[in-house]
Symmetry: C2
Subunit: 313 residues, 2 copies
């Protein structure tokens, strides 16, 4: 469905539950919160399904919208959720009755009954912004989570997914709400623990493919040594993408013994999504991920082989 | 002079020499290059005075415009230069004949014969963009250095000086030129030396004022230990501004024995410009600097006292 069709469809809904994805980021939380507020401004009952993995970073944007216990939705909307297995456990009961998915992942599996997908959008928030403009006036309460959604998914306008449209929407939102505190908190604040962990990751980084591929690791032991919170670790995978001379930054994070989350950030030479898809994951061409089951060493071998494979192709 | 008056004034000039400031950053170099190209597009002879401190980061934007030896200007324009003592030594012979200064520093000393100043602009590049729009079509050759000017001075749209206007200009420029390589090079690349130096600075940081003020140091010895280039050190002062729980990040860099460059990045509680002005420096409220003569320890005491003084006020 296009923007207008999606807006028309949403207008007809009430008692709406909005779903976000596992390890929720700024885009899924901010987009869902903005959409929820817009539906409420239209007089509808709307909630976000509580996401048990929400971090302190994004909790403030979601808290006003969590569904009360016992809420029975008439309609279900998923935002920025590319596949069923990216729904939190508690959302799986809605897996076969998602009425609408709003997404920007080219790898979207098409699980929802209807989809509004624009893979050229830097964030699902860009699509949600366009939809809300056809529904109700964009207020400060809508603009703030939308700015969080858009700015986080484009690395505050640094990533290659940033377009002229991204900047124009940011300009519109900034005229409605002061985002300087958000920018400071999201993009210009690092905890002491995070600075220390980054130092260790940089000191221990390894290079492959004639120095063009860099691997950084976050073993459980490192996290425990610093008593790091989830917020300390959030987006640590962006560090590997910074190393001069490389165009493929791989981060391996041990979620628990035997489970490793792989994140890949890449330049044009390497299709991160293709590499991660070989391991059952997905994402975007320049930023993708996968969970693999095995040791850190096994996960490293697997993703290096996958990257080599898609690079040769 | 306002934008239109400045454009009219520039139209009447020929044989123009454009001056940039010491330790040239993206804004002074990018703004000067864009203005130079615009004047050339108008059929004028225009050059940048060679800046001996230009780094590899910004050299590509300036190289096409360096004045040949023996060029005798009929008119002199300074861009982003707030005071005479911020001109490189080789530019001092023009100090009393700067026909026009285009600047966004509220602390501008008024040394030029005419000034076009807009302290609300995130970068001098925003003002230069508005002026060029009244002179000649904005081409890709103008858009690229202007994007460099604007994006670097607002920390790629992260700093509090970023406005809706900043984003709108970025959108216009991005429609003329692909900036993804620039964003990658300027904001998402760190040399291995830089990563190592950041680790050391973070490991050795000191806290004052109940943890709200953080001090980081770059002694000459650290630079020599890593054989660091100027490009490795560029903008290292932004690191101190990231430390969670602080709202005043001070970086002390030993330029040579007995000379220390102080950089201050601050939140609303501390006026960085006022603190640095007490030591003979200047800048903006949230980002300012000063050079002091003495040891690192003396420089630290001096700036901590200055910061405490302006914080009490």
């Amino acid at each position: 469905m296009n923007i207008s069709e999606t807006a028309e469809f949403l207008k007809a809904l009430d008692h709406v539950l909005i779903l976000t994805h596992v390890r929720p980021d700024g885009d899924t939380v901010g987009s869902a919160a903005a959409l929820c507020q817009a539906l409420r401004d239209l007089g509808r009952e709307a909630y976000l399904l509580h996401n048990p993995e929400i971090t302190a970073t994004y909790e403030p944007y979601a808290t006003p919208y969590w569904a009360p216990e016992g809420f029975t939705p008439a309609h279900v909307v998923a935002v920025d959720v590319a596949a069923i297995n990216l729904l939190p456990e508690c959302a799986r009961i809605y897996a076969d009755r998602v009425d609408l998915c709003i997404d920007h992942h080219p790898s979207n599996s098409g699980y929802a009954l209807r989809i509004c997908l624009d893979a050229s959008a830097a964030a699902a928030g860009e699509i949600v912004y366009a939809i809300i403009r056809e529904l109700t006036p964009v207020t400060a309460a809508i603009a703030l989570p939308l700015y969080v959604a858009i700015s986080t998914d484009c690395g505050c306008f640094q990533y290659s997914n940033t377009s002229a449209r991204t900047h124009r929407i940011a300009a519109e939102l900034m005229e409605l709400v002061d985002v300087s505190a958000v920018n400071k908190a999201l993009f210009r604040t690092k905890s002491r623990v995070r600075l220390a962990m980054e130092s260790r990751m940089a000191a221990d980084m390894e290079f492959y493919d004639n120095g063009r591929v860099v691997v950084m690791q976050i073993p459980l032991a490192l996290r425990q040594e610093y008593n790091a919170t989830e917020a300390d670790i959030e987006e640590l995978s962006s560090l590997a993408a910074l190393v001069e001379g490389t165009d493929c930054g791989i981060t391996l994070r041990e979620l628990k013994p035997g489970t490793v989350k792989i994140s890949v950030r890449s330049g044009p030479r390497v299709d991160a999504c293709a590499a991660c898809s070989m391991l059952g994951g997905g994402g975007h061409r320049a930023a993708a991920g996968a969970n693999v089951y095995g040791t850190m060493a096994e996960a490293k071998d697997a993703i290096l082989q996958a990257v080599a494979h898609v690079t040769e192709a």
